[in-house]
């Protein structure tokens, strides 16, 4: 350092005074057998302290999620594929749009393959995925998700295979394809939104705080992206626009719900980088496509399709950003050491439990 030590250090902090003080301490110890008063104050003091207000030096208790980059795209692909399977099956059964149903089968199957690839890649070693199928554990959302993925993948794959086999080789497998399509839609219903339960049922405050709305949020985000992908593939069915309006409206409500919440645990969704991504994703999945789609519903055909394509791009991007934002917010929330210790922001009122004294202290008092 080029700074002159004379300028920087007060006499108390200088190396010379420290040595002097040590000599004093030695003398005093020799004379009296003990030392009164302070020892040597080092530069850099005061050192971090542990207290009911700072916790253990502000070291966060909870561990950050350790999922790799594959997980937000996995949430996105699963949401889109699951919703596409349901849209396709209904377009087929209602006899409204056979071409749409065909493309939905392909999206569902492609999404299932991509999902499995992402999940297996996150585990590090492919064979490890098989351990997921050892047990069926209703209390574990991860176990339920693995089974849902296995079922969805099998049925969606079969439906798409039957479709392609019938088209290209004229094989009489339409019936099998239709059954598989129905089953893939049934599995697609939970598959499109279970990831909301997956992250909601954890110890991470910002996630478990939203357990009641996360599956709906993720489900609608998935629907939004499925509709967007189908429109970008060239489908013009007005039913897609109607679905898009519904999904964007619910996404807008969820965005408002987050913005209006005053809880400390919601901060990662509003502040910093994670807050920025949440807001950007929220705007692109909610109000932006909602306005574009409503406008499209009132316009003539050519202009309407342009608006719908813009809404589609916005929803797909918004849906992906939303998943990135929630995972990012989970990291930020886990690092907030105040939350699990129920230490409130100094500017805010203490939560009731902290005010009344912790459960532990109450127990100790009773004992």
């Amino acid at each position: 350092m080029s700074t002159n030590p004379q300028e920087r250090a007060t006499p108390e902090h200088s190396a010379w005074s420290r040595e002097n003080r040590l000599v004093e301490i030695r003398r005093e110890a020799e004379r009296k057998g003990y030392v009164d008063g302070l020892g040597v104050r080092l530069p850099g003091a005061p050192f971090p302290i542990a207290s009911p207000e700072t916790g253990y030096y502000g070291v966060h208790l909870l561990k950050e999620p350790q999922w790799s980059w594959e997980i937000p795209p996995y949430f996105f692909v699963g949401g889109a594929a699951g919703s596409a399977a349901v849209i396709g099956a209904i377009a087929h059964w209602t006899g409204r749009d056979k071409k749409l149903a065909r493309d939905c089968r392909l999206i569902a199957a492609g999404g299932a393959i991509l999902s499995s690839g992402l999940l297996i890649s996150d585990l590090g070693r492919p064979a490890r995925f098989l351990a997921m199928l050892r047990v069926f554990k209703p209390q574990s959302p991860m176990s339920m998700g693995a089974w849902t993925l296995a079922a969805f993948g099998s049925f969606a794959g079969a439906a798409a295979f039957a479709q392609l086999a019938a088209e290209n080789f004229g094989l009489p497998v339409q019936m099998l394809g239709n059954i598989a399509e129905g089953l893939s839609a049934a599995a697609g219903l939970p598959f499109s939104n279970y990831t909301g339960v997956l992250i909601g049922a954890t110890a991470i405050p910002v996630w478990n705080e939203h357990i009641g709305s996360l599956p709906i949020h993720f489900g609608m985000s998935g629907l939004n992206s499925a509709v967007g992908i189908l429109e970008l593939m060239g489908h013009k069915n007005p039913a897609l626009n109607t679905l898009g309006i519904g999904a964007a409206a619910i996404e807008s409500l969820e965005g408002a719900n987050i913005e209006l919440s005053k809880k400390t645990s919601v901060e990662p969704l509003k502040r910093g980088m994670s807050g920025l991504i949440t807001r950007l994703g929220g705007a692109l999945s909610g109000p932006v496509p909602l306005a574009l789609r409503i406008a499209a519903a009132f316009y003539g055909s050519r202009r309407a399709m342009k608006l719908r394509k813009a809404a589609a791009i916005s929803s797909v991007a918004g849906s992906m950003l939303t998943r990135i934002a929630w995972v990012h917010a989970g990291h930020v929330s886990a690092r907030d050491w105040r939350l699990p210790l129920e230490i409130a922001d100094q500017n805010k009122e203490l939560p009731s439990i902290a005010r009344e004294g912790s459960a532990v202290n109450k127990m100790a008092k009773r004992a």
Binding site: V59, R134, I211
Partner: protein, 261 residues
Amino acid sequence: MSTTTAFFTDATLCIGCKACEVACKEWNGISADGFNWTGNSYDNSGSLGHSTWRHVKFVEHSPEPGLGGNNPDLASWVFSSDVCKHCEKAGCLEACPTGAIVRTEFGGVFVQPDICNGCSYCVVACPFGVVQRNEEDGRAFKCTFCYDRQKVGLHPACSTACPTESIKFGPIDAMKMVAQERLEELQARGMDDACVYDPSNTSVEGIHAMFLVRGDPRQYNLPPNPEVPTIYNKAGWTSSAVAAGLLLVGSLFAFLGSAKQ
């Protein structure tokens, strides 16, 4: 039938020697994790993790006569050896999708390393932030409650190594009694701030590693209300069903209302 066992860690007896950390690493063959000072008192291992199954906390705070010496000018200094709590209702065990995490006959929570597939869901399910995935290996690790040692009638490595009997180990009922007696003894000696940390009135329903600490347990990073995440399942799946209903009914409504293409 085997006895259900527990740790009882008495922070008032801990001298911060880290013999428990070393004994744990030695016995379990845990890899080294560098030698970095955290700057938080004499703590150099930071927190519990995949390579730290016992962690000695150095709780240093403003002077409090009676706590860490009587000199009003010197900071108070206490130590406490932290460990996996082996919850009665364990978040990691409930969340594990492979069945790798099991409850042993001694009441401990054990991760079977040959089954763990590294999904890291237990990491976010633990309300105490104990279990962690080893990024190099890919699997999750935490305190085994020395299952191998208990199996042959030995005490865990940490409690065996503890030179001051700060870490006590034995049948859970006996440990609870010891904790209560020690608490009463300390309070009789005027240490009114002593308390036993055993969150049995939360959804975790009690732990197999109780602690006796002086002052607010929060300065030892012990959460007042740890909750097992399965309590959120019901609300989550209800919301999932609502979302599925919206998707199904919405699609039916949209397509039935539209013209044939």
